[in-house]
């Protein structure tokens, strides 16, 4: 640990972190998409939940997702300080002490899981705990620094929320909720690898074995294209399983091929431009699909 780091941690012990710093630890942008997918699972599930309990379930998913992000920032503080994209985060910048971030994350995780169990059912709470544990222990601590398949397997953690929302209503895990899980699971690799392509130097510098670092850009682009093609039938599954309507079917039929087109453009492009566009489109893709799923079930 460098002198600068020790000095920063000594300063932080004085408790200079503000509310905004703690909010930043929760990775609000990531949290919003995760929460939205959880809401989609909750609304698509058969049956009904009292609005207070439904709102609590969504709050628990949001808080647990944010808390997992805080623990991730605590564990990855060494590589975050090296990478351009993450060096402005609260811990590497010395605004929050690492121990405080860890305590914050652990307390929020436990609180969210218990509250989920009390408000809805313990199946949903167990799934929430599993998702948090998977993200922290399997992805962050085990896979991220060891294998280029880190975000493929670790992506399962981000795929849990619709299943958790579903379980909050039904108390179990249905086939349709597994389809929603698979949708995010198959979406995650091209989404993250698009980011890794234009942040390749960052990951290389930090020693994180992302696919572009280990296997090169060509192989990464090939796998991204393969995943977007495989995603086409997976994205249609909610309609075939009867939890989505015509709007979703039309949306998935249009957005899926567009996602493939972005991957094709990345394949032919030798600059970062198309990878940046694909990354942005991937977020819009998932957001729109879940928005259509919600709209179909509200109609």
């Amino acid at each position: 640990m460098s002198d600068a780091t020790i000095r920063r941690e000594a300063v932080m012990d004085a408790g200079t972190a503000g509310v905004r710093d703690y909010v930043e630890l929760l990775k609000p942008r990531v949290m919003s998409l995760v929460t939205f997918s959880g809401l989609a699972g909750l609304i698509a599930a058969p049956g009904a939940l009292h609005p207070v309990l439904a709102a609590t379930a969504i709050l628990c998913i949001a808080v647990a997702a944010g808390a997992a992000g805080a623990i991730n920032m605590w564990y990855d503080r060494d590589i975050d300080a090296v990478m351009q994209r993450t060096r402005g985060r609260p811990i590497p910048e010395g605004r929050v002490a690492p121990g405080d971030a860890l305590a914050f994350g652990v307390v929020l995780t436990l609180g969210a899981v218990v509250l989920m169990g009390l408000a809805t059912n313990w199946a949903a709470a167990a799934l929430l705990a599993l998702a948090s544990g998977f993200y922290i222990f399997v992805y962050t601590m085990w896979l991220k620094r060891r294998t280029p398949q880190n975000i493929v397997i670790g992506g399962a953690a981000g795929a849990f929320p619709p299943m958790i929302g579903w379980a909050a209503v039904t108390g179990d895990v249905g086939v349709a909720s597994i389809a929603l899980f698979l949708l995010i699971f198959m979406w995650t690799p091209p989404h993250f690898w698009a980011l890794a392509l234009f942040r390749n130097a960052d990951y290389r510098k930090a020693g994180v074995p992302m696919l572009p670092v280990v296997a090169g850009e060509r192989e990464t682009k090939r796998q991204m294209l393969a995943y977007t093609v495989l995603l086409l039938p997976v994205a249609l599954a909610p309609w075939f399983l009867g939890i989505a309507g015509t709007a979703y079917l039309v949306g998935a039929s249009v957005l899926g091929p567009l996602f493939v087109v972005t991957a094709v453009r990345v394949w032919f492009d030798r600059t970062d431009r198309s990878a940046k566009q694909m990354f942005a489109f991937s977020i819009l893709y998932l957001f729109l699909l879940f928005a259509l799923l919600i709209a179909d079930n509200m109609a």
């Binding site: 972190a17 509310v19 009292h50 207070v52 009390l118 408000a119």
Partner: protein, 37 residues
């Protein structure tokens, strides 16, 4: 500097108070809904 530090601490304490009050209200609402079910 000292003033800034105090301001931040006060904001944090107020945020904590708001979170705790919200949690109490939420637990009360959950209990009411569960008892009514």
């Amino acid at each position: 500097m000292e003033d800034e530090h105090r301001k931040r601490r006060r904001a944090k304490n107020l945020a904590m108070l708001a979170v705790l009050l919200a949690l109490v209200a939420l637990l009360y609402a959950i209990t009411m809904v569960k008892m009514g079910a």
